[in-house]
Amino acid sequence: MKTIRFTITLFFMMSMLSYASAQCGPTLVEPSAHAIGFCEGTPDTVSFTVTGQCSGNYEYEILTSTNTVVQAWSNSNQFIINTPITDTYTVNARCSTCPTVVATDTFRIEAINIPTIAIDSLVCYNSPTTISASGAAAGSMSWWDSPSNGNQLSSNENYTTPPITANDTFHVHVEGTIQGGTTQGSILITECGLHGFPGSSSADYIEVSNLYATPVNTSGWVVALSSSYSNINGVNNILWNLPSSFTPCSMLYKSDVASQPNYWGNNILWNPNQPGWAAIVDNVGNLVDFVAWGWTAAQLAGFNVMINGFNITLGTAWTGNGCSSACQGPVGTPYSLSRNGNSDNNNATDFVCQASSLNLLNPGLNCGWIASDFTCSYPAILKVDLPPTASAPDTTKVSCYADVPAPSISIITDAADDYTANPTVQYMGETSNGNMCPEILTRTYRVTDSCANYIEVEHIIIINDTVAPLMQAAPADLFIYCYSDLPPMTSLAWTDNCLGAGIAQGIETSSGSTCPEILTRTWTVTDTCGNTATETQIITIFDTIAPIIEAAPANLTIQCPSDLPPMVSLSWTDNCAGAGVLNGIEVSNGKTCPEIITRTWTISDDCGNTSTETQVIIINDDTPPTASNLPTLQLAVLPPADINLITDAADNCGTPLVEWVNDSSDNGFCPENVVRTYSVTDDCGNTTYVTQKFIIGDYAPDVSFTAAPSFLDNLSSGIVQFDNKTTGAVSYSWNFGDYSPLSNEVNPSHEFDISKTRNYNVWLVATSEYGCVDSTKVPIRVFQELIYFIPNAFTPNNDGLNQTFQPIFATGFDPSKFNLKVYNRWGEVLFESYNHAVGWDGTYGGKIVPEGVYGYIIEFGLDHSQEKKVITGSFSLLR
């Protein structure tokens, strides 16, 4: 029991230790550079970066290649290089909470010591010298003009300079080589995931790493995988083509999870506890790396597959078993078979079977480094004895030669040298530039040091007269009107600082123009250096006063051109030109009525001053012509117009024009009145109108007549006498209205038909002398006299005679208004009739009335009048 408890406790502790180990500690330490070229005198630093889990502090230790500790465990992640010791160093990193877990990497420091440089302490100015270096391997040293990227001066350790004119620094470059570092140096299969990885619990994957420090062209390289658990020669039909440029120190992977990046293309038939393999074949069929698990050495000996067109076997380069099919192997023994004589031993460092850290570079792997050259630069400083210095004296300026000072070395006041206390000063001579105003004199002084270096400084003297002479003032400027006013020119006195004094004559120039003409009188004096004094007088000759002309006659307005007076001459005077007489110019505006005539007298002097006098004469006839109206005429027909009838037309300026204008009618008849108009017009359009009235035709007659008698009855003769009372007529026409022939008698008589009642309209038409006609009528009435019979008795006894009582009408009766009433003696109406042809038959109410006297009332119209006639009476009824 105790043993069991101990075993359980031990197992628990081991498990905890294993867990802690798995969770704590660095997995990778990387130096900032694997190859460092170190130049003595220039400290350098290597820093380290750790990957892993650490709840405490990371600690670092630096060892030499002989495991001598050069920097003991500490928290510093830097190694400061001060000592020039060439070696390959190892850096160990650990976590303070689990110090047994150590990550390691190596780096190389290649050191170059400072060489010995032989150089002169001082070189005379402009002299060459030789500098040399020693202490490094011959052929590794050269001379340059700058620490880097400069120009090479010498390819060996000696360098002779050109003449040196200034302090300078030269650089000896010492070249060194960093040895190549150990490297895994392969394209390696670094992980095979047989069953799951983070993110996918049951998938398979393969990682391939480039452990070179440089890109590798893997174009044409493929990765092949096993595809069978029973047949070692089963090859997955998908191959992985590696890239044309495999990035250095990088890892690529493929998995059989289609939903994730880098899909292999189909299933990778790998499974824990089942055998498998993976291989990298390059573009010429070499087996670059091969890993296997679950296959024995004997089975691997039968490995013979076709990959990417190449027949691949393992051959003798590969030995051993694969790791177990569970990817387990004893510590220190290969996990897979390994390649003979190669650092790629496929152990736990560079290959992990059944890994689960997809896309992470395996801890413990590094890319090493490659050999490289580097250069250290060391300066050599050269000092030069420079020439002396001295400032040039200030330039001396004088106006005249008499003012130039004598030469003297005392004018050099600041001669100095870097290595000579009192340099020598000498006057060397004087030169002129040969010019005048200014003339420049250059005096040379030489300053020399102990190295015979010298400089020359120059003293510049400028002789230049810049002061102009002085001259007496010129007379004041003038303005005159005429040349006769121009004064004579005088002379002016002058003085100069270098030349003395004198008299200047002036010159006169004209502007060449007139009105104004500018005369410039100039007095000028110039000294040797061209300094000039000038005085000027400006005289302006400009006549600005116009001539004066006698006043022109007053303006006129006249009726006719014949009234125009002759033009006169006018006298004039001018301040410069004197006097004279002037004729004018007459100009018409070219129009008439009015015509405007302008008479102008103009005169200008030599300067264009102009005077003008003007007279304006307006010719305008505004008086109309005269003519008398013509007398009124009465004619049967309107005669044509005749301008010759206007005999008295007259105008104040000539003969007017007579024209017919129009005839204006009142469109009347008997008579028509016409007014004829003539126009009388002069040259200015003034018009007078002359009229003549015409009476065309005469008046209509005054027609009237009487008839006797105008009423005719059937008892008359029927003859009517007409009495013509018309006036203003010369002929007559009678129409009697009974279709009888017309009569032209003055007082005719006519017999009418009296047999019937009727009316006749008698018309008289009368005509005047010029055909004017009028008419009138008189009615003639013909009627019948009333004739009737009323019986006084009747006998309604059926004997055929006098059976009814009724009136009998012969003539003059109008039956349209007939009414018959019969009364008895008591006033009762027994009978009434409206038809004169129907009489009373002696009955009343259908019974025969008794004999006796009865009364009657008869009403009827008359033929010749509107009157009613009423007749009453009585009659007897007899049986």
Partner: protein, 111 residues
């Protein structure tokens, strides 16, 4: 023996390529990978390898059957081969429901 293994390898490879592009005649259009993923066991289990060979045989048999004329004297032999592969699949208790239309088609040919 070496030649036998090589021949078998070539045969398996040819079947592998064939299964990547099933003929258009088969009603089942899935790849063998996809069919294996639909099985009850993990695709990486050893049985998956056997299943892969059987599925290859089934596809091969079906392709030959669909391509053969009805008067082809080899047709019956292809049907027998397919049925043998089918029987192996059933023995391994594989999920072959995706071949059901093809299985029905072959069954009708033998009736």
């Amino acid at each position: 023996m070496k030649n036998i293994i090589l021949g078998y390898f070539v045969f398996i490879c040819s079947l592998s390529f064939a299964q990547q592009e099933p003929t258009s005649f088969t009603k089942c259009q899935l790849s063998i990978n996809d069919i294996l993923l639909q099985q009850s066991f993990d695709i990486d289990e050893p049985i998956s390898e056997d299943a892969m060979y059987i599925l290859n045989d089934m596809y091969e048999g079906l392709n030959l059957i669909y391509k053969s004329d009805s008067n082809d004297p080899n047709l019956q032999k292809h049907i027998i081969s397919f049925n043998e592969a089918l029987q192996k699949a059933k023995d391994l208790n594989l999920n072959i429901s995706m071949f059901q239309e093809d299985i029905d088609y072959v069954s009708k040919m033998t009736q």
